[in-house]
């Protein structure tokens, strides 16, 4: 449990699960808490250390998730995910990954995505279980049932509102705003407007102190794509010189454009291998210019190497020896920034009998191992993600079917090879303890070749359902 001082009182600021079951509540006087739970372990809260830890966490998020991240003291992190989520497989996957990673390192986190910072702030704290994604253009309906505290109001103001009978955000929204301002001051309406997106709320992105960046302010705001491209080229060459001096190569770069209406637009590109090649980085950013909305014009552009790694100089051209294989790093980068890092991969073998488990994705630039699958057992060119049920006429226990119906078409089997019996991997899953699949390679009258299997050995019901499935197609 954490204790802190509020005025002259010592109160409970945070309590863990065990303390909560003992009846402790946040905001309770410390003396009362100690009576409720004798043997309570009390730690003094250290707001400064908390803020520092939150900053570190924000930098971690910045390096992994999105170009614009700010610490939202005392307990939150704001991420501007526009234009960053598709690189993580969409908003849902990004949030699940974020919360999962934090949980793995011992943080219980909740997260929400919404149209405005105010709405996301409220939903993350009062509605997320543990993640929540508000649909685009969600409007006020999603906020209405939340309690008033979700609006980020000072305690005094929210308790005053409670006294007057306002409990939910919806109650306040239903009131005309002018009298509210007269009665409670501008703070309440400001928070409401921020939550609804009627008032801009720019976030001040966090910058780690040792980050290498290049900045350029323009005398006249710029908006044309060509001008932006020129500015980007200028910034990258500046940044790459700085990187080269330090012997670093950038892995992830962020371009922040501050517009004259004080909104920031961010673009992030990633590189598969560290690099300080200005031409290449400029090209990656120029591919993304169309995603920058310059509004009424851009005042300041900042290019930062969010993640940089040491880069040893390497001899690339040698008069002796044969020409090295073409470098595909830049192609991988271009494609990864187009479709996302996970959508470009190589496939490596896994020692597993189950065909669907015999492959895994590895990064496109992972070192080559030369490992391969056994060439003795024929494998199809296309494998269905899910085996498809087929109706068959077959002799049991170990004959291939004579006729089968797949996708509504009846086919007569002319030739067949098999069975190739695969056993379940009992060391991985309990249910596969005695599972068996008998695979057959069959050819129909037209010459099409299929890979089918019977779930089970044809005799013992414990080994499977004895149904037939079509799993892949041979060429």
């Amino acid at each position: 449990m954490l204790a802190g001082r509020e005025g002259n009182r010592r109160i409970v600021l945070a309590a863990d699960g065990a303390a909560k079951t003992a009846g402790l509540r946040v905001g309770m006087p410390l003396a009362k808490a100690q009576i409720l739970a004798p043997g309570l372990i009390v730690q003094n809260a250290d707001a400064k250390a908390d803020a520092k830890a939150l900053d570190r966490l924000a930098v971690w998020t910045l390096q992994r998730y999105a170009p614009m991240v700010a610490a939202d003291y005392p307990d939150g992190i704001v991420i501007e995910s526009t234009g960053a989520d598709h690189l993580h497989g969409g908003e849902a996957a990004m949030l699940a990954g974020l919360v999962g990673r934090l949980a793995a390192s011992g943080f219980a986190a909740k997260a929400a995505v919404a149209d405005t910072l105010g709405a996301a702030h409220a939903l993350a704290r009062y509605a997320a279980r543990p993640t929540l994604i508000a649909t685009l253009g969600h409007g006020t309906a999603i906020l209405a049932p939340l309690p008033l505290e979700a609006l980020r109001l000072p305690d005094a103001l929210s308790s005053e509102l409670y006294r007057l009978g306002f409990e939910r955000i919806g109650d306040v929204l239903a009131q005309p705003r002018a009298p509210l301002t007269l009665r409670f001051g501008p703070e309440l309406v400001r928070r409401i407007e921020q939550a609804l997106g009627e008032r801009a709320e720019p976030i001040e992105p966090i910058r780690p102190p040792d980050m290498i960046e290049a900045r350029r302010a323009f005398a006249e705001p710029i908006a044309a794509a060509e001008t932006i491209a020129r500015a980007i080229a200028h910034l990258t060459s500046q940044l790459c010189k700085a990187l080269e001096l330090k012997g670093l190569g950038a892995r992830r770069l962020d371009l922040l454009c501050r517009r004259i209406d004080n909104q920031a637009v961010a673009v992030r590109v990633g590189l598969a291998a560290p690099s300080h090649d200005a031409r290449r980085i400029t090209r990656l950013f120029c591919d993304k210019i169309e995603t920058i909305d310059p509004g009424f014009g851009i005042e300041v552009m900042t290019l930062a190497a969010t993640v940089a790694e040491p880069l040893a100089p390497k001899q690339t051209v040698s008069p002796l020896g044969e020409a090295a294989a073409a470098d595909i790093c830049d192609l991988v980068d271009t494609l990864a920034n187009r479709v996302g890092e996970r959508a470009i991969y190589r496939i490596a073998p896994v020692a597993s009998d189950a065909p669907e488990r015999s492959i895994r994705h590895i990064p496109a630039l992972a070192p080559e191992t030369g490992a391969t699958w056994s060439p003795h057992w024929p494998r199809p060119a296309r494998l269905f993600p899910r085996p498809e049920r087929i109706e068959t006429v077959a002799l049991l226990p170990d004959h291939p079917p004579a006729v089968f119906t797949w996708r509504g078409v009846r086919r007569r089997v002319r030739r067949a090879d098999g069975p190739e019996r695969l056993f379940g991997e009992w060391w991985k899953r309990e249910v596969e303890l005695c599972a068996v699949r008998d695979y057959f390679r069959i050819e129909d009258e037209s010459g099409a070749r299929y890979w089918i299997f019977r779930s089970g050995d044809g005799e013992d019901a414990a080994t499977g359902s004895q149904r037939w499935f079509l799993h892949g197609i041979f060429g």
Binding site: A325, A326, D327, I328, D330, L331, V332, T334, L335, R338, V339, A343, I344, Y345, R346, I347, A348, P349, P355, S358, I359, A364, E368, T369, G370, T372, W373, P375, P378, R379, P380, A381, R382, L383, F384, P385, R414, R415, A416, D417, R441, I442, E443, E445, S446, G447, A448, R449, G472, I473, F474, G475
Partner: protein, 250 residues
């Protein structure tokens, strides 16, 4: 019928056309290693630095996939394979000679981005082959790809047409800028003296070829190095392998 390919006047005319088209250097080709097939293709093989279109006969087109894999396997350098859905089975491709270490897969959402990724791969110039799976290929898109492939000069571009069953040659769709157009369909495998499935066979149809004639072959599928073969009982026949004369030439 006389063979127009050997006519000297035609040859001179062809050289003249190539000069007008601005291709000074001789374009390199990737031979199939099958004389009948290579002789049908200008330059004695599949042109490198050009776009080729391959279609299957059914929904999945596994034979067409392996045909493309075999070509990619015989090309040098790395291979980029752009897909819209991930149902390729890498062990199967490895058995057609395309080692998994050589292939990079890109999963792009739709046809448009698949073709955009393909173009990116072609423009890079350092790849041996780029294969893209697309249901549709418009004239404009194919011309872009063809130009990108020509500019690279070292990459074979293959568009694998997927989609609904195609009934005949006329149904293949609108014309495209591809240098050759193939259709691969599975045939009953080579007979074995024992029950079982022999080496798979394909009907390989060269539906359209730039500066060449259409033809049809019955071939044995890719071996572990990606090479096709002529079925043994056809090799020894006195009559030349069944090559149909007189398809559409362009």
């Amino acid at each position: 019928m006389r063979d127009v390919r050997s006519e000297p006047a035609i040859k001179a005319l062809r050289a003249q056309i190539e000069q007008i088209e601005g291709r000074r250097r001789a374009r390199s080709t990737l031979p199939f290693g099958i004389a009948e097939l290579d002789s049908r293709l200008p330059g004695g093989g599949l042109a490198i630095g050009a776009l080729h279109e391959v279609a299957g006969d059914g929904g999945c087109g596994a034979a067409a996939t392996l045909f493309a894999a075999g070509i990619a396997a015989r090309a040098k350098n790395k291979v980029l394979w752009c897909v819209s859905r991930a149902d390729l089975f890498a062990p199967g491709l490895a058995q057609a000679g395309l080692a998994s270490g050589r292939v990079m897969y890109v999963e792009a959402g739709d046809d448009k981005s698949v073709l955009a990724c393909m173009e990116e791969g072609l423009r890079h110039g350092g790849l041996g082959a780029v294969v893209a799976e697309a249901a549709r290929l418009s004239m404009t898109a194919s011309r872009r790809l063809q130009l990108a492939a020509e500019a690279s000069g070292a990459t074979i571009a293959i568009v694998l047409r997927r989609g609904r069953r195609q009934a005949g040659a006329a149904d293949f769709g609108a014309p495209t800028a591809a240098a050759t157009r193939w259709r691969i369909s599975a045939l009953p495998s080579s007979p074995l003296p024992v029950p079982g499935i022999g080496r798979p066979r394909w009907r390989v149809e060269l539906i359209r070829g730039r500066a060449g004639e259409g033809a049809e072959f019955e071939l044995e599928a890719c071996d572990a190095k990606g090479r096709l073969a002529v079925p043994s009982e056809l090799v020894d026949r006195s009559d030349a392998p069944r090559a149909r004369r007189g398809g559409a030439s362009a």
